[in-house]
């Protein structure tokens, strides 16, 4: 099976501190990591490859430094990597990003002379937290999409996907090709070995630019991005809510309805 995993290099938000004066993130000196959900996606992909055979390619859109994230992926099971990088792609929002990825994916398929059967993304990146790129990529490609999956196996040529929802789990069957976004899995991603780490360090990662693919640059970067960020701010911490405790359920419910109607919510 020919699998693609889309990854993003993000600042390690556990290491980020907030500037107390400006209320903005202090980015300087913060290490860059592979978006953790993309790491889980890669682990699911590598496990699937180990089960049914095939190849795992990782692809990232970003600056030259994002090659470090791709090398990290190569050290934990990816077979090859592509960096998608061009000034024209800078400042892309999720719509423009997913468009670039969809075109780049086709360019990689052409280069490798092999279509991707399955595309994995993390459910969201920990810096932007939108969760939109995976689903939008599926739409651009016209493929089936399954979001918030925690495990994926192949059975009789069909995908069997375990999907997390607020109510429990959905078990979904799907045909290939498909785009799947991955949540935190019950298993941890593997560690690199010394050998895989050293091999990844030596790997040459090809870069695809806008010139390498038939892309409409008016749909990329800032000008291709309908999203406009008007303001970012730290929300004011509201005082705690009211807890109705130590009363029988019907009495507590009546009190709650009273409070809600007083507040003109009901």
């Amino acid at each position: 099976m020919n699998i693609l995993v889309c990854v993003k290099q993000v600042p390690d938000t556990t290491e980020i501190k907030i500037d107390p004066v400006t209320n903005t993130l202090i980015r300087a000196g913060v290490p860059s990591i592979v978006n953790p959900f993309d790491g889980y996606a890669l682990e699911v992909a590598v496990r699937l490859k180990e089960a049914v055979g095939g190849k795992v390619t990782v692809m990232s859109m970003g600056p030259e430094q994002a090659k470090a994230a791709l090398k990290e992926c190569l050290s934990v099971g990816a077979d090859q990597a592509y960096l998608i990088s061009d000034r024209a792609f800078g400042g892309s929002d999720t719509l423009a990003t997913s468009y670039v990825l969809s075109v780049a994916l086709k360019a990689v398929e052409e280069k490798e002379r092999a279509p991707f059967d399955l595309i994995f993304c993390g459910k969201q990146a920990i810096d932007g937290d939108t969760g939109q790129v995976g689903p939008e990529l599926a739409e651009h490609l016209g493929y089936a999409q399954i979001t918030y999956a925690s495990d994926v196996i192949m059975e009789d040529g069909m995908l069997q996907v375990k999907r997390e929802s607020d109510e429990g789990y959905d078990y979904i069957t799907a045909e290939l090709p498909a785009v799947i976004t991955i949540v935190k899995t019950p298993f941890e991603p593997r560690y690199a070995t010394i050998r895989s780490k050293m091999a990844a360090n030596k790997a040459v990662i090809p870069t695809l630019t806008a010139a390498d693919m038939p892309i409409d640059t008016s749909r990329c970067g800032l000008k291709g991005s309908p999203t406009k960020v008007k303001k970012t701010y730290t929300p004011v911490r509201e005082k705690h809510g009211i807890k109705i405790e130590g009363k029988p359920a019907d009495e507590a419910a009546r009190e709650l309805v009273g409070l809600l109607s007083d507040a003109k919510i009901m």
């Binding site: 560690y191 690199a192 070995t193 010394i194 050998r195 780490k197 050293m198 360090n201």
Partner: protein
Amino acid sequence: MDFHLSEEQKDLQALYQDFAQNEVKPLAADIDREERFPQETVAKMAEMGLLGIPFPEEYGGAGMDNLSYAQCVEELSRVCASTGVIVSAHTSLCATPIYLFGTEEQKKKYLVPLASGEKLGAFGLTEPGAGTDAAGQKTTAVHKDGHYVLNGSKVFITNAGPADIYVVMAMTDKEKGNHGISAFIVEKGFPGFSIGKHEEKMGIRGSATSELIFEDCIVPEENLLGEEGKGFKVAMITLDGGRIGIAAQAVGIAQGAIDETVPYVKERVQFGKRLSQFQNTQFELAAMQARVDAARLLVYRAACAKDAHEPYSHLAAMAKLVASETASDVTRRCLQLFGGYGYTRDYPIERMMRDAKITEIYEGTSEVQKMVISSWMGVK
């Protein structure tokens, strides 16, 4: 002189740190309390290639250098000194002498499984009556009918029990003293070889320390390591390298103690101030960190000299002398900053202080290191 790590060394250091923090640290208190050998960790380390770092890939190793190996022991020991010494004894004391003195057949048969982590190694030199005075060996090996027959016992052997392969010293010619000692590769399961008393120790309690017993133990003659009568040399050269591993362990313990102490003093309030706001705390920690860095540089210098195939015996001795005394002193001072809480098992600092002491004793006491250094200085 270049104090920068290569990209590869930096990457691997990050890998060791990640593994140590996530897989080794959570077990450290338990294996200490239960005096339990962390078999599960050893299996994970084998898979990652941590049990053969400085050996060529053709022998199952990772093909890295001794500096990276020292950094691995350091990072492991920073969170768990027991795990650090398991790797150090295996790599420096068992796999290394086979790599340096073994025949091609011996390397294929023993170094490959050791370096790939499939088998664990140990080293038997110390005897009840022959510690620092290693020449006083009582274990004998008699050559007859195509094999050697070993009789005697070894004590305080790290990894004894869990280990599969042992490099063991024995007297083949008592008349010749040092020149009558020979080295052997002994497998677990050789007839007449058994594991004796398990030592209950003050520190590094997760590392197995036991007696080796040889009762007419049959060792095939092809398992003689190096030439007959050259065992003392094998042992001394092996210990030179081992000292880099133990010195790295000591640096790791000391740094680990500081790692634990800094957040504690920033939280703990006395007299209306955080401990970190008192100048005594600031000066103590500053002086400790400077000492740990100095010790670390000595360890890295010795490892680099070994990698460059330069004489490093005195450098390893200096590194071990300074690093082990630093570990003992720094852990003791850190515990003082913790106060009464540091004396309880709720915090790891008392374990670190117990773990540190052994680094001044094993693989050559501090006094032996001084002998090596003064002899190199020509002070006789």
